[in-house]
């Protein structure tokens, strides 16, 4: 199913974001990456756009674009932890700042 087919109050998990390049990128930058929990908060009185809750923030998009966001019902374990999406292929290393990549660079 996709986001446009959800009902108000439903909690879903993003499985894939499709659509036009720059808009798709902007949606993901606003937090809609695969694995993310999304709550459908409401729909505008005229039926469009939708209001979503993504990572504790409000985000409204139109139905036409919501159709490009594939979702599955409910929260997955990963979305509950708001954690690593499988496709990202995160580099190893989760302990401590240095290995997560915080390093001082030469000026």
């Amino acid at each position: 199913m996709n986001l446009a087919q959800t009902r108000i109050g439903q909690v879903v998990t993003v499985s894939h974001v499709a659509g036009e390049g720059s808009f798709r990128r902007r949606l993901m930058e606003l937090g809609l990456v695969p694995g993310t929990r999304v709550e459908v908060i409401g729909v505008a009185p005229l039926g469009d756009p939708l209001e979503l809750l993504v990572r504790g923030s409000s985000l409204s998009i139109r139905r036409g674009e919501a159709e490009d966001v594939a979702v599955s019902l409910g929260e997955t374990a990963s979305s509950e932890r708001a954690a690593t999406p499988s496709t990202a292929g995160r580099a190893e290393g989760n302990s401590g700042l240095a290995s997560r990549g915080l390093a001082r660079s030469a000026p």
């Binding site: 695969p34 505008a44 809750l53 993504v54 990202a88 700042l97």
Partner: protein
């Protein structure tokens, strides 16, 4: 300009490295709705300077902050960067944040960036912070709106450890945490933090980054860290059809090549998901408890259940908009009357104390009239920006866009265009200034181009005069008054044409790539009065400074056009000037003024250049049913549409005419052609009203569009298309009506 500012400007111009001699530059950057502008106002007080970013008409606000911490006071220049969710860009406007941060494209190079983040929405806000840190930008984080998350406050120290930069909890609205922030800024300026965040991306992407980095222009790769970050930026920004400026062709080709070769891999998702994974992994350490649905959102959603309700929501929306419109339309009236009275009193004062001469006329009619023409806009501008300030600050403006999006989308307009469009019914000038609430240049331009088609209040006197003079006070079916119906018809007609024009122009003249809507409904907040007042003040002074001189000059030019050459023996005041002057006289005075007896001599206005011009264009106006007298009226109406009435009065030798003056109505009604037939028929009246509805008879509107777009092109285009539209429509009405036998 102070000595310090001068040195800083020259130091920046030569691209010198930061030294103690110049004013350090501090950027405020952050997502929209994070209280960035409130913080800017808090830090700089009321001394904001407003300019534009180089090469683009996006407002650049800067001000001075005096740091007192550690030693002698030190002045820092602060710039408020437009809100951005990310540094990746597709258009020149979105590119501003990156250019400002890196000191590119003629932007001065900043010494420090203060990233303003919403303490309640760290996940989304930290995305931008990771981008800045990857770029090796010197950063201090202001953890703002900390007051709104009292029950689950993020830990500033933990965030500081995570990012490796100072993080200060602030509440800009109530002015809390500012001393600590200033101290952190001082410390960071004294000892620049050199913390770059290095995120490890999947191996395949790392290889892509190296390939892109090799194609970077040399100016972009001053360090390995920055080169890698810019390669990331390029890879997630450059597209075959982007609208970016100043991107090297080699780099562009390389990015497209790398993306094409990525095949099944999803580069955008690799970059973005990796950054979010880093943030997500850290979040549990930043908040006492992780909330998927924060309390401040829940409160706001409860309010939205009413305010966005299909029935109550719209009822409240319509009431609020009517209230706003009412205030623009009628509450501003006493202030406008007062300004008009003051204008006419000062003109009278000069007339009473200075002997008759051309200079006196220039002063009273041209200069004082012109100043009056400018100041008269202030009440509506102030009121409109008061409303906008409250709507924006409270979070309701985003709801207006949310409610109206479906309708506005169909017209190709942004949801936020609704308020400016509605204000257009009062006056196009404040409405055009109000388009600044829209971020995209294209949306602003489209709204600006169609707003002057709305029936503004200045058209009412013209309609009143024509309807009163040429249409009988009879009733349709013995019930509905013809005159009232006509007035309503004119409103409906102009609204219909405005929407039609938006649809057409949005697909032709200001065609831009259709951008999908992304809207954030911020939590409801109590609007801040001081913020709103300071915005009103800024807008008003900007209008006076920028558009004021132009309007003044045009008023004087029009005065000259309709006053020269001066008739040899006539001691009457120069016509247009008198028209303008009289426009500013209190209404009661006008009505009680005796009308001089009609004269058969040619009026001075007929002999003026304007009068000759009116006669010269008569052949053009004939097919619309107009004669040269109407032509002169149209020329005079450039000062302001309602001046048409008094100019026409002068053409007929009626000194003080307004739309309700009986002699003027009679003149129009009884005007005869050479063959004795009535010169002005109801059909001609309709044609004239249609002409007024569609033409751009307002130099102030053109002047404001010129200032807002910083180009001659758009005001000229606006004048051209509106005049053409008006001409064709009037022609159709008049000739069509005649064919039908009217």
């Amino acid at each position: 300009m102070t000595q310090q500012a001068l040195t800083s400007a020259s130091a920046r111009a030569t691209g010198a490295t930061p030294t103690a001699a110049r004013t350090p530059l501090l950027l405020l950057i952050g997502n929209p709705n994070t209280g960035k502008t409130t913080l800017f106002n808090r830090l700089t007080g009321q001394n904001a300077r407003i300019g534009n970013y180089p090469g683009i008409t996006v407002e650049r606000r800067s001000g001075d902050l005096t740091l007192h911490a550690d030693g002698p006071p030190r002045v820092v220049e602060v710039v408020d960067v437009p809100g951005a969710y990310s540094l990746s860009a597709r258009s020149a406007e979105e590119q501003i944040a990156l250019s400002a941060v890196l000191g590119w494209a003629e932007n001065p190079r900043p010494d420090l960036c203060v990233v303003v983040v919403d303490a309640g929405q760290l996940a989304r806000n930290l995305y931008l912070v990771t981008q800045l840190l990857e770029l090796d930008i010197q950063v201090v984080v202001a953890l703002n709106m900390i007051d709104e998350v009292r029950e689950n406050p993020p830990n500033a120290a933990a965030l500081s450890r995570f990012l490796g930069v100072s993080c200060v909890a602030t509440d800009a609205r109530h002015g809390k945490g500012l001393v600590e922030l200033e101290r952190a800024i001082s410390a960071a300026l004294a000892l620049p933090p050199r913390t770059a965040l290095r995120i490890d991306y999947p191996n395949a992407l790392e290889r892509d980054l190296e390939r892109v980095a090799m194609a970077l222009p040399s100016a972009w790769s001053e360090s390995k860290t920055r080169a890698r970050a810019l390669a990331l930026w390029a890879l997630t920004s450059i597209e075959a059809d982007d609208e970016l400026q100043g991107v090297d062709e080699t780099l562009r080709a390389r990015c497209l090549e790398v993306r094409a070769e990525a095949d099944a891999r999803d580069i955008d998702q690799e970059v973005i998901a990796t950054r979010y994974a880093l943030i997500d992994a850290e979040l549990p350490k930043l908040y006492p408890r992780l909330e998927t649905h924060p309390k401040k959102r829940k409160t706001s959603e409860r309010v939205d259940r009413v305010l966005l309700h299909p029935v109550f929501g719209f009822a409240i929306f319509i009431s609020l908009m009517l209230l706003m419109f009412q205030s623009l339309f009628s509450w501003s009236d006493p202030a406008i009357r007062l300004i008009e009275t003051c204008t006419s009193l000062s003109a009278n004062f000069v007339e009473a104390h200075v002997p008759e001469s051309i200079v006196r006329d220039l002063v009273t009619r041209g200069v004082i009239g012109g100043v009056g023409n400018v100041v008269v806009f202030l009440p509506q501008i102030l009121l409109l920006f008061f409303c906008i300030g409250i709507l924006e600050d409270s979070g309701y403006m985003a709801r207006v866009a949310f409610l109206m999006d479906r309708i506005m989308k169909a017209l190709g307009l942004h949801g936020r265009a609704f308020v400016p469009m509605l204000s257009g019914f009062a006056c196009a000038v404040p409405a055009i200034l109000a388009t600044r609430t829209m971020e995209r240049q294209r949306d602003r331009l489209l709204t600006m181009l169609v707003v002057p088609l709305m029936t503004c209040s200045a058209r009412l006197p013209v309609y009143t005069l024509i309807i009163g003079a040429l249409f009988p006070p009879s009733r349709v079916f013995g019930l509905l008054p013809v005159q009232g119906l006509l007035m309503i018809a004119m409103y409906l007609f102009s609204t219909f044409i405005t929407l039609l024009a938006a649809g057409v122009l949005g697909r032709t003249a200001v065609k831009g790539r259709r951008i999908p809507l992304i809207l954030e409904l911020p939590p409801y907040r109590l609007p801040s009065l001081s913020g709103t007042l300071s915005m009103m003040w800024r807008r008003a002074t900007m209008f006076l400074k920028e558009a004021g001189s132009g309007i003044l000059i045009f008023t004087i030019l029009l005065w000259a056009l309709l006053s020269f050459p001066r008739p040899a023996h006539v001691a009457e005041p120069p016509p247009l000037a008198a028209a303008i002057h009289q426009q500013f006289a209190p209404k009661q005075q006008v009505q009680s003024a005796p009308s001089p007896a009609p004269t058969r001599d040619p009026s001075p206005i007929e002999q003026s250049y304007g009068g000759r011009l009116g006669k010269a264009i008569e052949p053009l106006l004939r097919p619309l049913g107009f004669d040269w007298k109407i032509g002169v009226g149209l020329i005079g109406a450039f000062a302001a549409r309602e001046v048409f009435v008094s100019t026409l009065g002068l053409v007929y030798g009626i000194g003080d005419a307004d739309e309700n003056t009986t002699p003027l109505r009679d003149k129009i009604r009884n005007e005869r052609r050479a063959d004795g037939s009535a010169a002005y028929s109801p059909l001609m009246g309709l044609s004239l009203m249609v002409f007024f509805a569609l033409s751009c008879q307002c130099m102030s509107t053109l002047m404001v569009v010129f200032r807002e777009t910083r180009s001659y092109r758009w005001p000229l285009f606006m004048f051209g298309y509106m005049t053409a539209l008006a001409y064709v429509a009037s022609l159709l009405v008049y000739q069509g009506g005649r064919l039908l036998g009217f």
